[in-house]
């Protein structure tokens, strides 16, 4: 083998998708989605810095059905990345590596991020007090 032909990771197509690998790739995907969200945050703040007209235009775009759909996806991505990130920090401390706990914490991440996303949106639109 040539020195510069060292094996490069990862060869995803070789493996059958499993709960652990699907959750792992979702962490990366949500991370990339959150970069787009961060760029939208820049646009939003810049619009406010430009003045009332630019800010109103930004708000109209963000409050359209498409804007809300995108923001809903960003909210889910944030909570998923946050909760699964806690899982990663646990692994970094050497905790939670056995298969049972991997599956339990994985399920908690999925259920938790969906629940927190719905809760945030219901709170934002004033529905939490009515529950």
């Amino acid at each position: 083998m040539r020195d510069d032909a060292k094996p490069l990771s990862p060869h995803l197509q070789v493996y059958r998708p499993q709960v652990t690998s699907v959750l792992s790739i979702t962490h990366r995907l949500t991370g990339l989605v959150l970069v787009l969200a961060a760029m939208l945050l820049t646009y939003w703040l810049a619009a406010a810095a430009y003045g009332p007209d630019a800010f109103s235009r930004a708000q109209i775009v963000l409050e359209s059905w498409f804007g809300r759909l995108v923001l809903f996806g960003f909210t889910f991505s944030l909570f998923y990345h946050l909760l699964n990130g806690l899982r990663h920090l646990g692994w970094d401390m050497g905790k939670g590596f056995d298969l049972t706990r991997l599956r339990i914490t994985g399920a908690l991440v999925v259920v938790g991020s969906i629940a927190l996303t719905l809760l945030s949106w219901m709170w934002a639109y004033g529905h939490v007090g009515k529950l």
Partner: protein, 134 residues
């Protein structure tokens, strides 16, 4: 042993290799910075989501009043800087994992590093303009 055979071929001792801190000369700095920014982003992002919830449907005046409040401006700047730093570290790893051409890899990493700096600087300046210049 495999290690010894490898060392003989490389003519470098383990000590010499560890002193160089690996191919990037920074050792675990990238790994550590990603974790530390992640820990900081836990409270910062929760504060940000809470703020967005309270700002739902806000007009310019109420957004302006919120963003120019001292504590909110400080936390916004902290959130922006930490967020783009963490983003830059994470995207760099993804590029390094999946892009196998050295030239394209380096170009993409540069775009990510400069791009996140541009977006972070724009966001911070926007917050300063809102809170200081009215």
């Amino acid at each position: 042993m495999v290690d010894m055979a490898r060392n003989k071929r490389q003519l470098r001792s383990n000590l010499s290799r560890v002193r160089g801190l690996g191919s990037t000369r920074e050792g675990v700095h990238h790994w550590w910075a990603q974790r530390m920014s992640a820990v900081a982003l836990i409270p910062l992002s929760m504060w940000f989501v809470y703020s967005l919830i309270t700002l739902t449907g806000a007009d310019y005046q109420s957004f302006h009043a919120w963003a120019s409040e001292f504590g909110n401006s400080v936390f916004l700047v902290l959130f922006i800087v930490t967020l783009f730093h963490h983003a830059q570290l994470g995207v760099t790893v993804v590029i390094e994992d999946y892009v196998h051409s050295e030239a394209i890899k380096m170009a993409m990493v540069l775009v990510v590093k400069y791009g996140t700096m541009l977006f972070a600087a724009s966001s911070v300046f926007a917050v300063l303009k809102i809170s200081l210049a009215g």
